[in-house]
Amino acid sequence: MSTRPALATTARVLAQLRRDPRTLALLLLVPCVLLSLLAWIYDGQPQLFDRVGASLLGIFPFVSMFLVTSVATLRERTSGTLERLLTMPLSKLDLILGYALAFGLVAVVQAVLATALALGPLGLDVLGPWWALLIVAVLDALLGVALGLLVSAFAASEFQAVQFLPAVVLPQVLLCGLLAPRESMAAALEALSDVLPLTYAVDAMQRVTASGDVTGGLVRDLAVVAACVVAALGLGAATLRRRTS
């Protein structure tokens, strides 16, 4: 691969997003609205908001980025542009990285907005430094981008693509330790949760909440999430097919 086609793809995807301000607004604002709603629900129980708020600060951007990217390559396929692009000097990884970079930028803006809102007006209290919270939020949103692009390659229709949210995302939300501590789950479920990437994303959030230091555990969690991002993007590129029947 070379950088030119990938960066051109990033610029093109961003130009498309600029022409679609409603999608952009939904992407940036929905996590903020949900966090505000959560703070309101726990009004009067700030310690509960501190515990759950940080985890959901990781989950909301993850979900919204997953959803938007899961239709990305599907759109390319139905418009015929994917077939044209694959006859041109553009590697499959160029295309996926171009998308990842464009939505990655959106993910960064989204995570910055949500984190600033949570720590500022909503009064989320965490023991760890604010920048650690931000890094985790950005990485969680990037995980959403990468997994969305990966499943996008498998979706043959919009109906299938949107069903990947309950199929791929909700089990991870159920098992990540938010609803029940992972230690209290049946051994099989705990083992399953050990191999799901969102587990590490939420675990990282809880570590930032509970400790003032950047611990080795936090660094390990972030490394796992980053590795999952890279693996999902690589797999996403590998599953695109130049030749179709």
Binding site: R12, T87, M88, R243
Partner: protein
């Protein structure tokens, strides 16, 4: 092999799609620097053959060689321009943004964008959003994309469908001009009257070639004056033998 006289050489190509044999084993050659018309009714296998030539079609058996290389080879990706049957451009971008993106992917110079806009007669629509153009205009944006850079082979799947006659005439002269510069063009159509514009005709029906001839040879062989009548004569003849 790289300098072979044929731009495209198809040998015993078999393609199956969804359990149906679309191409049961076809062979053909396309000379360099020519305009070849691939004519036949809708559903006869034209698009499948063209997809095989650009290397995006899964083939069951047979060989497709393009500019001396196997179809779909990496080295061909900047040398072959392809227009799919449905316009394949981004509807939410402007015409210029669309072309600029594809030019960047190809590594073609930015000034190419203005050249191809002129060639397809869209210079006045450069800042229009593609989705708001008419079907014919969108088809021309798609065609303009294939003209970016310096393609040696252009594979055009029904590029003139739905266009007004003046525009169709202009595009056919552009095709002839390109062929004069040494570019090879394969242009498919289900409109038989476009045949006169081609040096060579491949008439196709139900996945097989009825004829591979020049328009005048076709007239001589069938005694008919236009290609549609010649097509019918060939079908009748084949059925009489069957």
């Amino acid at each position: 092999m790289v300098n072979s006289a044929n731009a495209v050489e198809v040998r015993d190509l078999v393609v199956r799609r969804g359990g149906r044999t679309v191409l049961p084993g076809v062979s053909c050659r396309v000379a360099r620097g020519s305009v070849t018309g691939l004519l036949g009714p809708s559903g006869c296998g034209k698009s499948t053959l063209l997809r095989a030539v650009v290397g995006v079609q899964v083939v069951a058996s047979g060989q497709v060689e393009v500019l001396g290389l196997p179809a779909g080879a990496k080295a061909l990706r900047s040398r072959v321009g392809y227009v799919t049957q449905a316009p394949s451009v981004y509807g939410d971008l402007t015409v210029r943004e669309d072309l600029r993106y594809f030019a960047a992917v190809l590594g073609a110079p930015a000034r190419d964008v203005d050249r191809v806009l002129r060639e397809v007669g869209l210079q006045d629509h450069a800042t229009s959003v593609v989705a708001r153009l008419s079907g014919g205009e969108r088809a021309r944006v798609s065609l303009a994309t294939a003209l970016l850079g310096t393609p040696e082979l252009l594979v055009l799947d029904e590029p003139t469908v739905g266009l007004d006659p003046v525009l169709r005439r202009d595009l056919w002269s552009l095709f002839a001009e390109l062929a004069g510069r040494g570019v090879t063009l394969i242009v498919s159509s289900h409109v038989m009257d476009e045949a006169e514009r081609c040096e060579r005709l491949l008439l196709m029906r139900e996945g097989r070639f009825l004829a591979d001839a020049s328009p005048s040879e076709l007239r001589e062989r069938t005694g008919e004056h236009d290609v549609e009548a010649a097509f019918l004569a060939l079908v009748d003849r084949e059925e009489a033998f069957a």
